[in-house]
Symmetry: C2
Subunit: 91 residues, 2 copies
Amino acid sequence: MSTNVANLLGGTAAVLTTASFFPQLLRIWRTRSAHAISTTTYTIFLIGVLLWIAYGLLIGGWPIVVANTITALEALAILGLKRRFSRGQRP
Amino acid sequence: MSTNVANLLGGTAAVLTTASFFPQLLRIWRTRSAHAISTTTYTIFLIGVLLWIAYGLLIGGWPIVVANTITALEALAILGLKRRFSRGQRP
């Protein structure tokens, strides 16, 4: 029972924290603005997420691998948009 | 050996993904700009992180609880700065 509740909480937590970066991506795309976005944040975050993937592969935790692969792609996309929309602007 | 490597990877991953939001906080504070920051992202992210804390408490995973408590405070601070620096600006 407690394990079921824990799995439900953990699963929902994983879905929410993974899904949460889509609105950020959309906002940068729509406003064509990424001035407030920290490149340092998303670079450190991306390295952390890649280590989470390695950790998931090592312990055979596939939900960790899947969730963090999606998050890594979102972080990469946010860094790409930041680069694209920062050209010609002051940093 | 493999468990040690996994713990090292997981621990480093936790430190990096937790630390990564500090530069974002600093950037908003210093530039007084949060236009590109998505409120939806940080709200969903905060709910997800709170669920991670509940999950960590249930399974007795204290590193999960500690890392996510710090992340929750960072997300709250980013939402607070977003609110503060968005006043009087168009959304």
